[in-house]
Each structure stands twice: as structure tokens, then as C-alpha cells.
């Protein structure tokens, strides 16, 4: 659905994206994971044609380069910053953005209503956006991205600064969109979100793709082994093992177990192993 080949983008002396190659299949929910400044938003802007690559190519399958308006018409974007007009109501915002996608008349009205219902804001459609909470604005930001029923949806950090309830609501929306067969690119620096939602995850740092695979494979190849923590006779023991249960049995045979815990490998650990830094450093 979306293909980036050897893409490079610089801003002066800063290389935002360096030799990035990526192919995202139709219907896939792809996660772009990386710390702030890793190049995630630049990649999204390249994918939607907001930026042109200095080198390499960006192509939306079957349509062409996203610099073309007709290609952009098939892409929906929820920018990282909430991009809404605070002096307009939710319905007025969506109606306006719908017109930018050449929607009009009854179809526009239906799409606006459907999008508001989808994100759970149907009953607040006539409220000014400036009266919305941060979570509601995020949900409306998502609604504006899917309003025109795009094939490819780019969600740039869609849960930043939202309450847990709105976050779960957004997760449900994203999974529902995936169920409808939409292709989704989801950028985040929250490991747990990528693990929970994404079919595949690409780990970006300093504009370079460090690893790209399914979450289990990334964990297996870069996440190290699970860690068994055992407390026995007041003493804590940490053991890295591929089989925590067998190791626990072995330790139990040698003495009483007061407490134990298994630490499974996470994408945080993967990132630490790949870069030597924590994701939020």
C-alpha cells in the first residue's frame, strides 16, 4: 500500500530520515516506534506528500506519489498537534475539512455524522471545540482524518496527552478501522501501544530504521531472554532464562521460595539493546 525506498530527508545539517526503506501491506497496522526526534513525523510528512524526499521515492500503491492531490485524497492524516479550529463546533470543523476533500451535500452530512459517532462525539457535535477536553480533541482529530473514508490512514502520536479513557477509546477506533481493512501507520513512543496494536513495528532512531518485524520476532531477536526474579530466605535472585518455569522448579528444589516474578522482554528492552539508551532518555 505504501512504499518508501531509500528515502533521505535533511533539514540543513540535520538528517531527519536516512536511507529509509519500508513497504506496508494493504490492511496492515504498522507501528513506527522511536523516541522524540527519531524521524517519525518526518516519515509521516513524506508519506502524505507534505515533504518531498531529497533522495529516494515514496509511492502509494496503485496511485503514485503523494505529492499529487488525487493521491492525497486517498490518505487520511491525524497530525501530532491537534489541528482543529477552536472557534468552530465539532460538526463545523468536520464539514469544513470534508469540503477540502471535495465532499458536499448529503454525502458530506452523512460522513460528518458517521465520523462523529465513530469517535463517540455525536452528542457533542454542536459544541465549540474550545470547550472540549484534551481527549475529546484527540478523538475529533482522528475523526477529521477518517472523514473522507481514506484507504491509508497516518496517525502521528494520536494518544499524546490524553486520559486513559480516551486512550482506550482511540485504541478501539484504530482496531475497528483495521477490521474494516484500512491500512494504518501508527507512530508512537509508547512501547505498550505498539505491542498492543501493531502487526509489525519499525524502530527508528536518528532517522534510521534499526529493526523492523513483528513484535514477537523483535522480542525474540533483540529483546534478550525473560528474567526470573526470586526471593528466597530474604535474598533476591535474578536469573535470565528461556524457560522461567523450569528455572523456578530448579530453584524451589534447592530451597524455599518466598516470592517470585517473571519479567518478560519488552520493546523498551529491544530499543535499549539496539541503541544503548532508554526510549524516553
Amino acid at each position: 500500500m505504501l512504499r518508501l525506498e531509500s528515502v533521505r530527508k535533511t533539514f540543513g545539517a540535520i538528517t531527519a530520515v536516512d536511507d529509509l526503506s519500508l513497504a506496508i501491506a494493504r490492511g496492515e497496522l504498522f507501528g513506527l516506534l522511536g523516541p522524540n526526534g527519531a524521524g517519525k513525523s518526518t516519515t509521516v510528512h513524506l508519506a502524505v506528500g507534505l515533504l518531498s524526499p531529497d533522495r529516494g521515492s515514496v509511492v502509494v500503491e496503485g496511485l503514485g506519489a503523494p505529492i499529487l492531490p488525487e493521491v492525497r485524497a486517498r490518505i487520511g492524516v491525524a497530525p501530532q498537534a491537534v489541528s482543529l479550529y477552536e472557534q468552530l463546533t465539532a460538526a463545523e470543523n468536520l464539514a469544513f475539512f470534508g469540503r477540502m476533500y471535495r465532499l458536499s451535500g448529503a454525502r458530506l452530512a452523512k460522513q460528518v455524522s458517521d465520523a462523529l459517532e465513530f469517535v463517540g462525539l455525536g452528542d457533542r457535535r454542536n459544541d465549540l471545540v474550545r470547550h472540549y477536553s484534551g481527549g475529546m480533541k484527540r478523538r475529533l482529530n482522528l475523526a477529521a482524518a477518517i472523514l473522507h473514508d481514506p484507504d491509508l490512514i497516518l496517525l502521528d502520536e494520536p494518544t499524546v496527552g490524553v486520559d486513559p479513557q480516551s486512550r482506550n477509546s482511540i485504541f478501539d477506533n484504530i482496531l475497528a478501522l483495521k477490521a474494516r481493512g484500512r491500512t494504518i501507520v501508527y507512530t508512537t513512543h509508547y512501547m505498550e501501544e505498539a505491542e498492543r496494536l501493531c502487526d509489525r513495528v519499525g524502530i527508528l532512531d536518528h532517522g534510521r530504521m534499526l529493526a523492523l518485524d513483528t513484535v514477537p520476532r523483535l522480542l525474540a531477536s533483540h529483546g534478550a531472554r525473560p528474567v526470573l526474579q526470586v526471593v528466597s530466605r530474604g535474598r533476591e535472585v535474578r536469573v535470565e532464562t528461556d524457560d522461567p518455569l523450569a528455572e523456578l522448579n530448579r530453584l524451589a528444589a534447592s530451597g524455599p521460595i518466598d516470592d517470585f516474578r517473571v519479567e518478560r522482554p519488552t520493546l523498551e528492552r529491544v530499543f535499549l539493546n539496539l541503541t544503548g539508551r532508554r526510549l524516553r532518555d
Binding site: P69, V77, Q87, R99
Partner: protein, 423 residues
């Protein structure tokens, strides 16, 4: 709905909901126009018609008539001699001059016959509404004067005494029966015409309590001086309204850029030309509304009268085009609202002041007028003044209009080239 129109309507809707922007765009310019207009005119009662009254008859009747005029609530009466009164009307400092000529008192002493008392109403022929209103007021005062005379028995007896004196004088001249025969003849003819449904004819039948002779006053300096202070301050007010639009829409673009909505627009399939076109249409529409609204208020309530409606529309369009270009330039002056607002006002204020936005152009010192040449504000005010009171011909209007269009084109081109939806 075309994309450009949708963009423009969205911006106008936001403007209406932004109280600060709305205040500086629509309310503040009106305050400027009215406040300064009132200050410059030295009048506290803009709704009263100002007239100069000249009593050349100097009789009890004429003095009584002047006194009646002074008591009319809608008139502001100033006594003057003929020369001063007419010069005040010519200068636009008084709406009209009412001259009571010699013979007024003599005519007023006759009732229902002879020449009625007459006053001269000196007024600019273009002031048709004021002329009609003043004539009505004068007739009313004449009728009331007659009514009070009839109600006063001593005054009525004086009139009868005078009439009998006239009859006696006629008899001594050997024509004693003539007035009587004539009266009876006229009465017979009058009754005949009333029966036939026609208007009575003859000098006696058309007698009225007061005759008003309208005299034209043409200002020899028309085209050099405004007719009233609001002719000056409403173009200034319109300029401030335009500047309000420029700053509101220019900063609106900066706000869209910093808040991310501009990025979302650029990610949509609209073209750059549509995006900029929408902004331009919104700003031009707001300017046109401000110009029209302020001018209508000036025309209806403050007597601002254009010498040419067509040239006024031309001035409005050209000023709109110029300042849409300036708006585009303001939008690229800074990356943040604060930076753009600071730079925008730092540029717009001196341009407005030098251009006559505060001090009228024709009272500015020569060096200031020369310095103001660089300001589009000057050319906009000149175009408005040309259409309102300077009496510009179409050819004279070409220069300010051409400069305004050129300013608009250059500024918009530069601004559009520098415009980046996102940083």
C-alpha cells in the same frame, strides 16, 4: 461549494466569533470616525440641522419669526449677516442660510391678500433631503405665526384697520369699487372652480402664510474642502477598519500555521492557489463589508455624501485589493503570532499615520504628505476622499487606484512566494 469559498466562509465565521478581531475590524473604526468627526466639527448635536439666519427686515414680525426658529428642537440656529451666513454654507459649516428680506414684516401684516411674507433659503442644491425638511419647517413656522395672529384680537384688529386704510386710499384715488368688484368676482370664480373640482386661480386664491424661495449656494471651493468633518473622518475610519482586517487575517494565517491547521490543509488535496485564494477572498470580503457598513452609517447618520458613487466603489475595490496584498505580506512577517503581530503593527502604524489615518492629509505639513507617498494608506484615503469630497474626475482617480492595485499585486506576490504552510 467551491473550496475557495469554503475556506473564505470558514475564516469569516471565525472572525465573527473572535470578539477582539470583530471589535478592531468593525467597532473601533466606527468609533474613530464618529469620535474624531464630532471633535473636528466642534458640535455636540450631530442630529440637529445647523442653519444661519439673517434678519434683514428687522421688524417685530421678522424678530418673532427668528425667535420661533430658534425654538425648533431640530434646528441649531446661528444669527449672522448675509455675507457671513452664505460663506458658512459654502464652507459646509452650516447646512443652509435662511434670509428674511426687507418687506417681510410689511407682508406679514396682510392676511389673505397681497404678496405673502417670503424668506430665502440658501442651500446646496444637492442637499435635497435637507432642503425639503427645512422648507417644511419654515412653512410650519409661517402657519403657526398666522394662527397666533388670528388668535390675538388686537393683532387682527390692526390688520383690519390696515385693510380699511387701503380701501380708503383706493376710494380717494377714484377706484373705490374696484377692489370690491374684484373680490366678488374672484369669489364667484373661486366658487365656480371649487364646484368643478379644479384648483382656485388668481393672486388671492393662492395666498399662503409664508413663501419660501430656494436659492442655490454652490461652493466655489467644492473639490478642495470637505463639506463636513465626517467627510474626513469616515475615510479614516474605513482605513482603520481595513487595517483591522489586514491584521486579523494576516495573524489568522500565522495562527493556522502555528496551531497545525495549515498543515492539515496542506495534507488535503487542495491546491496552493486555492488555499491562498481562499484567504484572499475572505480578507477582501471582510474589507468590503467594513467599507460598505461604515459608509452606509456615514451616509445615513452623518451626512457623508459621495461626489461619485461609481468612483467610491472603485476606490473601495482598489483599497481592498491593495490591503489583501498587505495582509499576505503580514502573514509571513513572523513564525509566531507575537512576532507577526509585533512586526505587523510596527509597520502598519507608521504607514497609517503617514497616510492620513490620524491627521487629515490636507492639514498635514508638506514633508509629511511627501513621506506619506510610500504608504498605501495615503492612496486609499486619497481615493476615498476623491470620490467623496475632492470631486476627482475618473482620470484623477486613476493614479491612486493604479498605485493601490500595484501595491496589492506586488505585496501579494511577495507574500505568496514567502508563504510556507508549515515550518
Amino acid at each position: 461549494m467551491p473550496v475557495i469559498l469554503a475556506l473564505a466562509l470558514k475564516d469569516l465565521r471565525i472572525l465573527v466569533r473572535l470578539r477582539t478581531g470583530l471589535f478592531f475590524t468593525f467597532v473601533w473604526p466606527l468609533v474613530v470616525a464618529i469620535l474624531f468627526g464630532t471633535i473636528f466639527s466642534g458640535e455636540g448635536h450631530a442630529s440637529r440641522t445647523t442653519v444661519a439666519v439673517v434678519d434683514e427686515d428687522a421688524t417685530t414680525a421678522s424678530a418673532d419669526f427668528v425667535s420661533r426658529l430658534e425654538k425648533v428642537a431640530t434646528l441649531q440656529v446661528m444669527r449672522a449677516d448675509r455675507e457671513r451666513a452664505l460663506s458658512l454654507v459654502r464652507a459646509g459649516k452650516r447646512t443652509a442660510a435662511i434670509v428674511i428680506p426687507r418687506g417681510f414684516g410689511e407682508a406679514a401684516s396682510r392676511m389673505f391678500y397681497g404678496t405673502p411674507p417670503t424668506v430665502d433659503l440658501w442651500i446646496d442644491p444637492s442637499r435635497t433631503a435637507e432642503s425639503g425638511m427645512l422648507q417644511g419647517l419654515l412653512f410650519k413656522q409661517g402657519a403657526e405665526r398666522m394662527q397666533s395672529t388670528l388668535a390675538d384680537s388686537s393683532a387682527s384688529r390692526e390688520m383690519v384697520r390696515k385693510a380699511r386704510e387701503n380701501l380708503r386710499a383706493a376710494a380717494e384715488a377714484g377706484v373705490a369699487t374696484v377692489p370690491t368688484d374684484r373680490f366678488l368676482g374672484e369669489l364667484d370664480r373661486y366658487l365656480g372652480t371649487v364646484q368643478a373640482g379644479a384648483q382656485p386661480a388668481g393672486p388671492g386664491a393662492s395666498w399662503q402664510p409664508l413663501a419660501v424661495a430656494e436659492k442655490p449656494v454652490v461652493d466655489p471651493r467644492r473639490g478642495q474642502y470637505p463639506q463636513n468633518s465626517y467627510d474626513l473622518t469616515f475615510p479614516q475610519g474605513i482605513l482603520w477598519g481595513i487595517i483591522g482586517c489586514v491584521m486579523t487575517f494576516g495573524l489568522g494565517i500565522v495562527t493556522e500555521r502555528s496551531h497545525g491547521t495549515m498543515v492539515r490543509l496542506q495534507m488535503s488535496p487542495i491546491l496552493r492557489t486555492e488555499l491562498l485564494g481562499g484567504k484572499a477572498v475572505a480578507c477582501f470580503t471582510a474589507i468590503a463589508i467594513v467599507e460598505t457598513g461604515l459608509f452606509v452609517i456615514g451616509r445615513v447618520f452623518f451626512g457623508v455624501r459621495p461626489a461619485s458613487w461609481a468612483l467610491l466603489v472603485l476606490a473601495g475595490v482598489c483599497a481592498g485589493v491593495a490591503f489583501v496584498g498587505v495582509m499576505m505580506l503580514v502573514s509571513v512577517l513572523g513564525k509566531t503570532e507575537q512576532a507577526a503581530a509585533g512586526a505587523g503593527w510596527a509597520i502598519m502604524m507608521p504607514l497609517a499615520v503617514l497616510g492620513g489615518g490620524m491627521i487629515p492629509l490636507f492639514v498635514m505639513p508638506a514633508w509629511m504628505v511627501a513621506a506619506g507617498t510610500i504608504s498605501p494608506a495615503k492612496w486609499a484615503i486619497l481615493a476615498f476622499e476623491g470620490a467623496i469630497w475632492r470631486g476627482f474626475s475618473t482620470a484623477q482617480m486613476l493614479l491612486p487606484c493604479a498605485i493601490l492595485l500595484a501595491v496589492g499585486l506586488v505585496c501579494f506576490t511577495v507574500g505568496a512566494r514567502a508563504f510556507r504552510p508549515a515550518d
